[in-house]
């Protein structure tokens, strides 16, 4: 009887989360607390009480467990929540000692997250120069002059998207490294457009579109007319032999929903 009515009280699901790394360079408790507090104050909406993973791999000098406990407290006061430590040779035993989980960071993720995860020394950071996209057939828009970096401000400046006029034709490959990709035109069947950020297609999407190519699960794809061969977000892809009738030719948003690629129409 009970067996029939039994529904489990919980489900164990796999999920991917995007977390920031707090990569400590100089282990100076007072200085860290001050700098973190200053950094959080600059973007409270984004950072206040944000969960972060503590990376002590580069920390100098190497802290003791007692010092790490102290840092956890000070970080919380300064406005960030350390939820785990990076599971490397230094972090693993320390995580054990302070009672926090140790998380393995994929090599690719770690690299791509290094930029936003340096709250301890942000002032010196200059905006990274935009890179020329690598493409198979140097695409028509390649000569479009890369946006000039503005006079190095202290505030982090958004990386300008790679903006290309369409159509992107069959056989062409476009990759917007470290930024969004905007195509003002169609993407033909047999073409591939990819970005580390979001992909926007202001036209018909008939080829392949890949957002979050470096692993960002928050990246999304937008197009005015849906009909792709394949869409992928952070490596999770979906192949369409033919577009489902409800969304074929519609303006849609493609996003990652609990690890699965989902398509929903944009409201007119």
């Amino acid at each position: 009887m009970q067996g029939l009515l039994f529904t489990p009280a919980f489900e164990l699901k796999s999920a991917q989360m995007s977390l920031m790394l707090l990569a400590v360079r100089r282990f100076d408790l007072d200085q860290l607390q001050i700098e973190i507090a200053q950094h959080v104050a600059k973007a409270p909406a984004l950072l206040k009480n944000a969960p972060v993973v503590l990376d002590l791999g580069q920390a100098d000098p190497k802290p003791t467990a007692h010092q790490v406990t102290n840092l956890l407290m000070r970080t919380q006061v300064a406005g960030l929540r350390v939820v785990a430590l990076v599971a490397d040779a230094i972090g693993e035993p320390l995580a054990h000692a302070v009672g926090l989980p140790a998380l393995t960071v994929g090599p690719r993720r770690k690299k791509s997250d290094e930029a936003p995860a340096k709250p301890t020394e942000s002032e010196a950071a200059a905006p990274t120069a935009p890179e020329i996209p690598a493409t198979a057939d140097a695409e028509p828009g390649a000569e479009a002059s890369p946006p000039e970096p503005e006079d190095a401000p202290a505030e982090p400046v958004a990386v300008p998207p790679l903006l290309l006029p369409g159509p992107i034709r069959g056989g062409q490959q476009i990759y917007a490294k470290g930024r969004d990709l905007i195509i003002t035109g169609a993407v033909s069947a047999g073409a591939e457009v990819a970005a580390d950020g979001c992909v926007h297609v202001y036209g018909r999407l008939s080829g392949k579109a890949l957002a979050g190519a470096a692993g960002d699960v928050r990246a999304r794809i937008y197009c005015l007319s849906f009909g792709p061969e394949l869409v992928s977000i952070a490596g999770n892809f979906k192949v369409f032999e033919s577009a489902p009738r409800e969304i074929a030719g519609k303006a849609v948003e493609i996003y990652l929903n609990e690890g699965r690629v989902d398509v929903r129409p944009l409201k007119a």
């Binding site: 057939d137 159509p167 056989g171 008939s206």
Partner: protein
């Protein structure tokens, strides 16, 4: 300086050479001094369609190799004084084309003629690449069916990124679509892509629509380009296309399915 126009498609058998021959005669009839060059090295056909195959002595590759002068290799058309044909080589293969060699021939032709029409081979390899590399304008020949449209898309992409104009950062190659083997009846029945479908997928305007017509084959076989057959729909459609390429505004013809007569409807056809 003359203008270089490439006739290309990607896919084979869609009517590039038929189109090149007809456009060449059409431009000549409009008084343009024109040279038409066959880039299909090893599979030369243009001379047959133009009806000058017996007079080919020297060819494109001979000129590139310096075996003869350009003047010696150009074959004057018997119908139009202002039309010359540069035949492809039947014995060599496409590797005989070199960028410098082709550039030299094209530049010499440009200084001599108003229009240099390049008849591209199928595919996207060496011959096709050189045919489109120097182009100022492109006439992309498309059949209203999916594989032809896809190949044309690829060719348009290569042209917009790898042509000399693209490499030197000049204004892009001007693109035109020419729809051939179009059958209004089959479009009406829904078995063939319409002009609108093709224009939408490729994002390029159609400059002419050549209806499917039996006269095309007989014209090719007799070495008289179909544009010279004033009674055929296809010939008239090519005449219109030439006019549009020269900047005239001409309404599209032959787009509607022929209405069947009373007896045809009774007895079928």
């Amino acid at each position: 300086m003359g203008e270089v126009i490439v006739v290309t498609s990607g896919k084979g058998g869609v009517g590039k050479t038929t189109t090149s021959a007809s456009l060449a005669c059409g431009f000549a009839r409009r008084g343009k001094k024109i040279a038409v060059v066959d880039f299909d090295i090893g599979l030369r056909n243009l001379d047959l369609i133009m009806g000058c195959e017996r007079r080919v002595v020297y060819d494109f590759v001979n000129v590139i190799n310096g075996d003869c002068s350009l003047k010696q290799a150009l074959i004057k058309d018997k119908r139009f004084d202002n039309l010359s044909v540069l035949a492809a080589s039947q014995t060599k293969d496409k590797d005989a084309l070199t960028q410098d060699g082709v550039a030299k021939v094209i530049d010499e032709l440009k200084s001599e003629f108003d229009i240099v029409l390049c008849d591209s081979p199928a595919g996207i390899e060496r011959g096709a690449f050189f045919a489109m590399y120097f182009a100022d304008r492109a006439v992309v020949v498309v059949n209203p069916e999916v594989s032809s449209v896809r190949d044309s898309d690829r060719v348009l992409g290569i042209m917009s990124s790898k042509s000399r104009r693209a490499e030197q950062g000049q204004t892009a190659v001007k693109e035109h679509l020419l729809l051939t083997r179009y059958s209004p009846e089959r479009v009406e029945r829904g078995d063939m892509m319409s002009i609108g479908d093709v224009e939408e997928i490729l994002g390029v305007k159609v400059i002419g629509v050549i209806p499917e017509s039996p006269e095309v084959l007989s014209a090719s076989n007799s070495g008289v380009p179909v544009i010279l057959d004033e009674n055929s729909d296809a010939g008239q459609a090519y005449t219109d296309a030439v006019a549009r390429l020269l900047g005239d505004t001409v309404p599209m013809r032959f787009l509607d399915a022929k209405k069947k007569g009373f007896f045809q409807r009774l007895f079928g056809s």
